[in-house]
Amino acid sequence: MKEVRLMKGNEAIAEGVIRAGCDGYFGYPITPQSEVMEYLFANKTKERTGMIVLQAESEIASIHMVYGGAASGKRVMTSSSSPGISLMQEGISFMAGTELPCLLMNCVRGGPGLGTIQPSQSDYFQAVKGGGHGDYKMIVLAPASVQEMYDFAKLGFELAFKHRIQVMVLSDGAIGQMMEKVELDEQVPRWTDEEIVKLHPWAATGKTPDRKRNIITSLDLNPVKQEIINRNLQKKFKHIEETEVRFEKIMCDDAEYLFVAYGSSSRICQKAVALGRAKGIKVGLLRPITLFPYPTKELAKLAKQVKGMLSVEMSAGQMVEDVRLSVNGAVPVEHYGRLGGIIPAPDEVLNVLEEKFIKEKLLCKTH
């Protein structure tokens, strides 16, 4: 039987990376995710698996430490919350340009600016559309439970090395702070230095006589070459869009109306689906698990079946743009969001769905 523990989301991802064979964590404290680094230090990772944990002088330094560690072929990560992730964007862009694998976790809080320490989903654009300078994408995983915070550590490293890409776990203050039970896996061993040389021949580990020197750089001043580099990056993102889409469908088979929500909001909408069904409303939920790549095709299919979609987000309306692009006008798409760290209630979002799609329609009929 699997080992089960009651954990906070932030602790679960920390335990997850230890068990996924992570080599190095470089971080800087920021609410509401400081438990990640605290948990790693308290668990004596150096003694347990040999994993290095270092508190850097800033988020800027920590992402560039990750950049250095990733270049040497190791499994490395950092975590932060919105303002800290903003500071890291240049480093993430450098890793996109050099195609280095790493795991990032953003425990999103409300903004802009210092904003609030309460949960929010207002960093969707930053995570999904690139964030830093240049044309690039990261794989973005959106956990909706503490179990997924744990699971996405291992999955994140697998995807990061499979595609040589940065993987961001886009959580929020609610997922990071709440406690749920977590099923834990066996320890994945850390790679030895010899394994890294074999598995990752691109890594800068010291030039040996049997190969040319490995240069990790995003610079090429020749525009013709730079365009080729960029086209190859785009090919990779396209391939990821075709192969790595993940989503969950709840009560969608006979649904006439659809909630689209990820992370904390999807938990609220799951409850709202149950409330709606109890009232006889045929409502379902599509929960994107990967935000890039986005479940565009699945939404396009559902657009042929449902009468309306409601994107529920703790933001002023960011993911709703991707829902609209996916359905391409085939069905009305509305947005409902709470801002500033407020989580909507299930009956609140169900009311919105009824008002936007059902009651209005009834009114139209009566007039």
Partner: protein, 258 residues
């Protein structure tokens, strides 16, 4: 015996007195003629070759004139964002404590945008080696004022001379980090005369050897010229450096192991 050797005799291996280290690639240096970067590159690569450390070395290149250092050094290298080389090197060294890890940075990179990373890597006593080339100007972007630009010195962004009242004072970052408990060996050298080149090579040897002791960060500043940015001939710039830079940035060891 003849006074002079024929060309054929000169080319005989037994008469060879000097050759390019195998660790410098054949790529032509992109530096301006007269610039000190080429000599600094050569010395570091010579020492790594002599110590047989190529397979054990990872270098970090900066942003600035030496952004393409990896084109000339035949070792594994990573190009860092502007100022972040000490953080990048920290990430590498923490995961590979047995490798020799160094950064190669200019004054804008190390002492302006990267001051935070420089000071904290030094203060944590990261077991890395920093080679810091200080020519008092931003070379690559076209000769703007650097944190190490001398008072009164004319640059593209201090066209009437650096006015310390409004533009601040030149930063003696090397003296500053020498005060931190995390630094082990801190020295300031130059490469503008054969005698100085020999001294600088000795300092570079020490800074590389000492990393094996795991006693903290080793730091070699090389005060250099920027004849293009200073708008002088190479010879004039070396003279100007001796007369103006060295009084403000005196050469010699600043912190030596006890």
């Amino acid at each position: 015996m003849q006074d002079t050797l024929t060309n054929e005799e000169i080319c005989k291996p037994e008469n060879m007195v000097y050759h390019r280290t195998a660790l410098l690639t054949e790529a032509p240096l992109s530096y301006c003629p007269g610039c000190g970067h080429g000599t600094a590159h050569r010395l570091i690569m010579e020492v790594i070759e002599e110590m047989k450390m190529q397979a054990n070395t990872i270098g970090v290149a900066p942003v600035g004139c030496s952004v393409l250092a990896y084109d000339f050094m035949d070792i594994d290298m990573q190009q860092a964002a502007h100022g972040r080389a000490p953080a990048v090197a920290t990430g590498i060294k923490r995961l590979y404590p047995d490798k020799f890890v160094f950064t190669y940075q200019g004054d804008g990179d190390l002492a302006a945008i990267g001051t935070c990373e420089t000071i904290h890597a030094c203060n944590r006593g990261e077991n890395i080696t920093i080679f810091f080339v200080n020519n008092g100007i931003y070379g690559m972007t076209g000769g703007q004022m650097a944190p190490t630009t001398l008072p009164g010195m004319k640059t593209a962004t201090s066209p009437f001379g650096r006015d310390v009242e409004t533009m601040g004072h030149p930063l003696k970052i090397t003296e500053l980090i020498a005060n931190l408990p995390g630094t082990y060996f801190v020295t300031r050298q130059s490469v503008h005369t054969p005698a100085n080149v020999r001294k600088a090579k000795k300092a570079i040897e020490k800074a590389i050897q000492y990393q094996k002791l795991n006693k903290g960060l080793n730091f070699v500043e090389i005060v250099s010229n920027c004849n293009s940015g200073w708008k002088m001939t190479p010879l004039e710039s070396n003279k100007w450096m001796e007369e103006n830079m060295f009084p403000f940035y005196p050469l010699g060891d600043i912190k030596v192991p006890k």
